[in-house]
């Protein structure tokens, strides 16, 4: 036992030695002495209050990045800077600029670092960031409810229709669910990767997104099969609801962000679109329940699981969340959707039997699912 510990401690000690040597001896300095400092920065949040523009900047560099001056609309402005996190190189700073920004118009910000480099950020449509009062929270909750739980519950109403269907129609519906989910998966991946690229390179947003996706899928698969069998019936419906719920969190963020940037007209269309779109999600949850007799509370629970995260998303979306966290959320959401795709496909394979997995009804179902989602997504 003692010998085992030694062989674990030895590589650790050698690693410490190598790092110490690199830090003390600095053999690489001669290579980088003449190199100008490398600076990277991303504006992650913009908060607009009357007479004030506040922005959060995440910075990274070979030396700590210092924001020395600030331009708004190509004019230098007085400002104050508060470090939000004290990293030697990786930093986060809040910058407050007193400025009478103009509602509905665009403003362009340029941050000048101590080396004279410029970090640019555009506010496309300036509008006050909603203050979260009781009233506005209630309104946002209603929007979130209309977006998520209400349409999912509406879709679940179709459940009785599934009870007396022939096996091939059932297979078609399961394949349809796979199609619906596949569309959501692609959509979530695209959104997640877009958010991931908005942060600075060292945080590796894209890698983080894929890792969150993989880890979530594996964990949920393991959780679903913890009892030794693949989830079916109510358990499968619950996992589908969870995956859809995490996806709806993302939809809530989109609507909240649209509301926050003053695009109220866009937000209305987003809500209408997502509502129609999400009714199909409810049907997807109902399909594995065809042979079951769930109680009303279980239906309510499924609708809540799939729909309520939209409320959280809507509220959070108005507050300009850091793109890194958005990427993480979407990674988890995509992972959850992938898990249910795998489980529904496995169920379908078991039901259809050997050689029947790619039968015409199944192919038609997947295609129809993707088609329905694309068509309803056009409304968004």
């Amino acid at each position: 036992m003692r010998a085992n510990w030694f062989w674990l401690a030895l590589p650790a000690a050698v690693l410490v030695l190598i790092v110490a040597l690199l830090l003390i001896w600095r053999p690489l300095d001669r290579l980088s002495q003449q190199a100008p400092p490398v600076e990277e920065a991303a504006v992650e949040r913009v908060n607009l209050t009357p007479g004030m523009i506040s922005i959060d900047v995440r910075t990274d560099g070979s030396e700590p990045v210092v924001i020395a001056q600030v331009q708004v609309d190509t004019a230098y402005r007085l400002f104050t800077a508060h470090p939000l996190s004290m990293g030697a190189r990786l930093g986060r700073t809040r910058i407050d600029i007193p400025y009478s920004w103009i509602d509905g118009e665009a403003h362009h910000i340029a941050l000048v670092t101590s080396t004279g480099a410029i970090i640019e950020h555009s506010i496309e449509v300036a509008t006050a960031t909603p203050a979260l009062s009781g009233e506005s929270l209630a309104l946002l909750a209603i929007v979130g409810l209309l977006l998520g739980a209400v349409p999912v519950a509406t879709g679940l109403l179709a459940w009785p229709a599934m009870r007396s269907l022939s096996p091939s129609v059932m297979n078609f519906l399961l394949a349809l669910t796979i199609g619906l989910l596949a569309f959501l998966l692609i959509d979530t991946i695209a959104e997640g990767l877009e958010a991931a690229t908005k942060t600075i390179g060292r945080l590796r947003g894209t890698v983080l997104f894929w890792v969150m996706l993989a880890v979530t899928t594996l964990m949920l698969l393991a959780l679903g099969r913890a009892k030794g069998t693949a989830p079916e019936g109510l358990r499968l419906a619950t996992f589908i609801a969870l995956g859809i719920g995490l996806h709806n969190l993302g939809e809530g963020l989109a609507v909240g962000a649209a509301l926050a940037t003053g695009e109220a007209a866009l937000a209305t269309f987003l809500v209408i679109g997502f509502t129609i779109h999400n009714v199909t999600e409810g049907i997807g949850i109902a399909v594995p329940l065809a042979d079951e007799r769930p109680r009303f509370l279980q239906f309510a629970g499924l609708a809540a699981l799939a729909g309520l995260p939209a409320i959280i998303g809507t509220v959070a979306g108005t507050q300009a969340v850091s793109p890194l966290w958005i990427a993480v959320c979407f990674g988890v959401g995509a992972g959850a959707i992938l898990q249910v795709i795998i489980e529904v496909a496995a169920l379908l394979a078991r039901r259809a039997g050997q050689g029947q997995w790619l039968s015409p009804p199944v192919a038609a179902g997947v295609t129809a699912g993707l088609g329905i989602m694309y068509a309803t997504a056009l409304l968004v």
């Binding site: 007479g51 004030m52 210092v66 020395a68 001056q69 600030v70 331009q71 190509t74 004019a75 230098y76 402005r77 007085l78 400002f79 104050t80 800077a81 407050d96 007193p98 400025y99 009478s100 000048v112 670092t113 101590s114 080396t115 004279g116 480099a117 410029i118």
Partner: protein
């Protein structure tokens, strides 16, 4: 303005915006090696002697150096300078003088001094004629003509980079009153050291700009290099005495720059090569790159106060080319 007081300032003023077009912090002029408030008034007449044929000989030694300086509070710029200041020394002589400028290149790149004046091709300070390699030197020698407000700058290639990094300065040739009998008094008032010149408040303003991120667009605009330097600390002038500004535009990347005075009008001598104004009673003058001239005006009838002057390209003004006279 210290960092912490920005928000306090915003709180203090209901319409804080009107006071917010500023830089945060202060430039260390001592560390920079030059102060815009000093070089404004400085003229370098060189070392004067008389040649064997009885002419005035003026000699200067100008050294080009790599010169990192604080272009705006907290922002370092890897500039190049003549004699450790940007703009370089204001060389001043009289029409007809013999000029000898020993140019030493203490920088890491080839440089030159290309004078806007009249001289032989081999004295032009361009590639092939009058360049100095790092560690080397070149002696420019020519007669001072024509009288006027001129400039010199490095003419090494790439030209844009060599100019905008700071290698330029003002070159003034005063008219010789003896050569202008019909406008003797006007010429005498322009001649440094003459009794007629004594009442004038003479200053040099070089309109320049810096591209700190090297994207061929300027981040900072100024007269005499430091943005808002004369805005935060006005130039004090006496209203009883007339004002003469030797104005040079050496702004890179932007085709034109301008000078606009508030609450007053001026006479303008384009290139300074005439003794009668080329523009009369104007309050704004537009200049292309390397254009220059002399502004003459008076505040004798004005009440004391702070009078603004700036580029009337609002963008340049709000990026630093914004200034004040304090008329007393």
């Amino acid at each position: 303005m210290p960092l912490a007081s920005a928000a306090a300032l915003a709180q203090d003023h209901g319409n804080h915006d009107q006071f917010g077009n500023r830089l945060v912090g202060e430039v260390d002029h001592v560390a920079n090696g030059f102060d815009p408030h000093k070089l404004l008034w400085e003229f370098d007449s060189g070392t004067v002697s008389v040649t064997s044929d009885g002419r005035t000989l003026r000699e200067w030694t100008i050294t080009a150096v790599d010169h990192e300086f604080e272009v705006a509070p907290g922002i370092k710029f890897a500039g190049w300078s003549y004699n450790g200041r940007i703009p370089g020394p204001t060389l001043r002589c009289t029409e007809g003088d013999r000029l000898r400028i020993r140019f030493v290149n203490g920088s890491t790149h080839s440089h030159s001094m290309h004078f806007h004046g009249i001289h032989a091709a081999r004295m032009d300070g361009v590639p092939g004629a009058g360049m100095a390699e790092p560690g080397g030197e070149f002696i420019y020698e020519f007669d001072a003509k024509p009288f006027g407000c001129h400039l010199y700058h490095c003419h090494a290639i790439p030209l844009k980079r060599h100019i905008h990094k700071g290698l330029y300065g003002t070159f003034i040739v005063d008219p010789d009153p003896a050569r202008h009998p019909l406008a003797r008094d006007v010429a005498a008032s322009r001649l440094l050291g003459s009794p007629e010149n004594a009442p004038w408040q003479e200053m040099v303003m070089v309109m320049n700009a810096f591209d700190t991120n090297f994207d061929d667009e300027n981040e900072f605009y100024a007269v005499n290099s430091i943005p808002f330097a004369y805005f935060d600390k006005p130039i004090r002038i006496e209203r009883a005495r007339p004002l003469r500004i030797y104005l040079v535009n050496i702004t890179e990347f932007d085709p034109i720059n301008s000078f606009h005075i508030h609450a007053n009008f001026f006479e303008f001598y384009d290139h300074g090569t005439t003794l009668a104004p080329t523009h009369r009673t104007i309050d704004t003058v537009m200049m292309c790159q390397a254009q220059r001239g002399i502004i003459e005006m008076t505040f004798a009838e004005h009440e004391p106060g702070i009078y603004m002057f700036h580029a009337h390209q609002s963008e340049f003004a709000e990026l630093g080319w914004m200034s004040h006279f304090e008329v007393v």
